[in-house]
């Protein structure tokens, strides 16, 4: 059996990972849903409307899972780390209070969007999706400010003898890591959503060439545009976040760069490569600048370096690959605009998009490992140690295994349901002979009597139409 501290930390890691993987989709999908519904309403293209319908079902399931797994987290803070909550519950309180209202807004308008369709005008229905998207993103960012405060607690009010008296309510919003963490997390949610969605349609197109129709191309284009636009931005924000970490948490920075000793002219590691003096140059714009290593931190205050370093390398490596994919996709798209075949006709590109689906999720989890493991041995950086926050309850390993079992079953069932939602009839392309686009009202992708799967591929010349949204 593992000890209680390890079990509690693993439990937290498990609960956070489960929550965040599905919650980022719950944050990002409403933006895609909103976009598709708006396109459908503006152009009358039934394929966009069908995509919006299909995505709204995924949002409904993901929102429910995000809500219940988020509840688990907020209560687990107390069950596992009662001393942390007793001392600092108020400090992170404003973040969570605002989060709860963002969550209320999201829940209320999602209910109206999903179930009020036949009682609302098309315009009102579309407008209901706006607070869903904004509320979801806001709730994610509010919660992230609480984490930023744990990584860089500010606004501590102390007695003259150093005893902690209170914390300022706005502390989480003023934490030095709040800026980069928020933007990094927001972009991560959009990247995960976009690339996961694009991968779903890429896989469908690879499996069945008849599915390289307008419906699937639109799904792929919307997802890839969102995910791949965010990728290069994310690289810049990641750089910003790393610089702030170097300023605020030197131990975490030394761990993620794998720097054991303080040196002048530190080398930069990229996988197996070592570039001399590059880290000093990157960080301080001076090849001979001093960079603090792990030995600058007292031994009891050092995080486990190897995990943090490996996770950082994984995240940065995946991010770089995704930027390369973004460049490739952008180039193919520009050539397509000048008459070359649609990118969706290229098998290697589809394979790359399909493979890129899980990548941002792996990078997301790796990034949180860097943030959370890199903060150890502190739960509130330099204020409260994780050991001192732990509950006195024993037998936490059993608790961990039970949670793992429940979450495993739920994850399998959830993926099965999402796959099920992705299947089913899709609207066919309008007849190119000229009855015009999509005759009439919205086509529910779920209607049993809907158009045949895949649709007739007649006249589906690759250059016949431009499919990518302008």
């Amino acid at each position: 059996m593992i000890d209680d501290l390890t079990a509690a930390r693993e439990q937290m890691a498990l609960s956070l990972s489960f929550h965040i993987v599905f919650a980022v989709l719950g944050v990002g999908m409403p933006w895609l849903m909103l976009f598709a519904e708006w396109r459908g309403l503006r152009t009358g293209d039934a394929r966009w409307t069908a995509l919006a319908r299909r995505w709204s079902k995924a949002v409904a399931v993901l929102f429910a899972i995000g809500a219940v797994s988020g509840t688990v987290l907020s209560i687990e803070f107390g069950l596992l780390w009662p001393e942390f909550m007793a001392r600092f519950g108020a400090a992170i309180g404003l973040s969570f209070t605002l989060e709860s209202f963002a969550f209320f807004v999201e829940a209320i308008f999602l209910a109206l969007y999903l179930y009020g369709g036949n009682r609302l005008s098309a315009r009102a229905h579309l407008l209901c999706a706006v607070p869903v998207a904004v509320g979801g993103m806001a709730s994610a960012l509010f919660v992230t400010t609480a984490n930023a405060w744990m990584n860089g607690p500010v606004g501590l009010v102390r007695e003259p003898d150093g005893r902690l008296l209170a914390t300022e309510p706005l502390g989480p919003f003023l934490a030095p890591t709040a800026g980069p963490q928020l933007v990094h997390m927001g972009l991560a949610a959009l990247m995960c959503t976009g690339l996961a969605v694009a991968a779903v349609y890429a896989v469908a197109m690879l499996r069945d060439p008849a599915r390289r129709d307008g419906y699937h191309r639109r799904g792929l284009a919307a997802g890839a545009a969102l995910g791949l636009t965010a990728a290069p931005l994310q690289l810049l924000v990641g750089d910003w976040a790393t610089r702030v970490v170097a300023d605020v948490q030197p131990a975490k920075f030394a761990a993620l760069e794998g720097l054991e000793h303080t040196v002048d002219g530190a080398p930069f590691h990229a996988g197996p490569l070592e570039i001399p003096r590059a880290l000093s140059l990157l960080l301080h714009f001076d090849p001979n600048a001093r960079v603090l290593g792990m030995d600058a931190v007292p031994a009891p205050d050092r995080p486990p370096a190897s995990v943090v370093h490996a996770s950082f390398q994984l995240m940065a490596g995946l991010g770089t690959l995704l930027v390369a994919l973004a460049v490739w996709a952008g180039w193919l798209y520009l050539r397509h605009r000048r008459g070359a075949p649609h990118p969706a006709t290229r098998r290697p590109f589809l394979l790359a998009v399909a493979a890129a689906g899980p990548a941002p999720f792996a990078a997301l989890l790796a990034g949180w490992v860097v943030t959370e493991v890199g903060r150890q041995p502190w739960i509130v950086y330099r204020v409260l140690r994780t050991t001192d926050a732990l509950t006195t309850q024993t037998g936490l390993a059993t608790y961990l295994y039970a949670t793992a079992g429940v979450y495993l079953v739920l994850a399998v069932a959830l993926v099965a349901i999402l796959r099920r939602i992705a299947r089913g009839a899709t609207p066919a392309d309008p007849d190119p002979a000229g009855r015009g686009p999509a005759d009439g009202g919205p086509v529910d992708g779920g209607q049993p009597g809907g158009p045949a799967t895949g649709g007739p591929a007649t006249g589906d010349g690759p250059t016949a139409r431009t499919e990518v949204p302008a």
């Binding site: 079902k57 409904a60 399931v61 929102f63 429910a64 899972i65 809500a67 219940v68 988020g70 509840t71 688990v72 907020s74 209560i75 803070f77 107390g78 069950l79 009662p82 001393e83 909550m85 007793a86 001392r87 519950g89 108020a90 400090a91 309180g93 404003l94 969570f96 209070t97 605002l98 709860s100 969550f103 209320f104 807004v105 829940a107 209320i108 308008f109 209910a111 109206l112 999903l114 179930y115 009020g116 008296l165 209170a166 914390t167 300022e168 309510p169 509950t391 006195t392 309850q393 608790y399 429940v406 739920l410 069932a413 959830l414 349901i417 099920r420 939602i421 089913g424 209607q447 049993p448």
Partner: protein, 327 residues
Amino acid sequence: MTASDGLALVVLAGLTAYAVLGGADFGAGLWDLTRHPAQRELVARALAPVWEANHVWLIFVVITLFTGFPGAFGALSRALVAPVSVALLGIVLRGAAFVFRQYGAPDGGRAVRGTALWGRVFAVSSLVTPFALGTAAGALAGGGLRADGSAGLWAPFLEPLPLVAGLLAVSCCGYLAAVFLSRDAERVGSPELLARFRRRALAAGVLAGALAVAALPLLPPALAGALRGVGLPAVAVSAAAGVFGLALLWRRRHAAARVAAAGAPAGLLAGWALALHPWALPGEVLLADSAAPPVIAGPVLGVLLAGLVLIAPGYAVMLRVLRARPE
């Protein structure tokens, strides 16, 4: 009145909203434990649009509690590990199972393999969750808990009072749901379902009243005294609303019965809170000692009140627009 008193009232208000709205959702899950297809259909129709928003009240209560009374949250987290963990398991399974069942048949027809099982998981976890939460409330009232958790992991499940309180919570949920569903059945125009839910509402209401009376002699003397003192108006409201609700049901005034039905658990909760006062954990932690410093309590109370005022109209519109109607 200090900002902390205000926060305590907001916690109680959130708890009441969760007990009435979320409780009715759990109760609806309870009435899903049947083979009657039309009954299960109405339960699903009533529940699907609103349960998530209603669930947010629980998150709201947890957050307001740890923000306003971090010390009490820490102590309660240590003392109530077992019932809270069981409730959490129930909450996760209830929510997940419900959406899996709802969206497991996206073509509106053929159910996916396993959705029938998720339907049962949904119903059973709808029973377990309010039981566990009721047990936690009963254990708090019983006064046997310790702030460091030293009373024992399973202590809340081993006393008669918490167990009766758990059953009381389940029957209150069943009662609320059956009353609300009676009105829904009336609105969608189904006399058969109306008769079924009316019968269930009457039975669950009588059972809840009996359990509430049965819990009285189990209360510790101090708490019973407080209930006869400061808690008396709340208890009186609860009892009157309970009797009045049953009378309205009997006279087939289903719309009005909903309001009275909500008053019974609301009064019960208010009485419980008044009787516990000034303790967060009786004999161990005083609410005032566990409160957040005023520098935080004030601004947070302001944000909470402003937020509640802002979301209230949207929430009311949602409940109104999305209730079950004739096809």
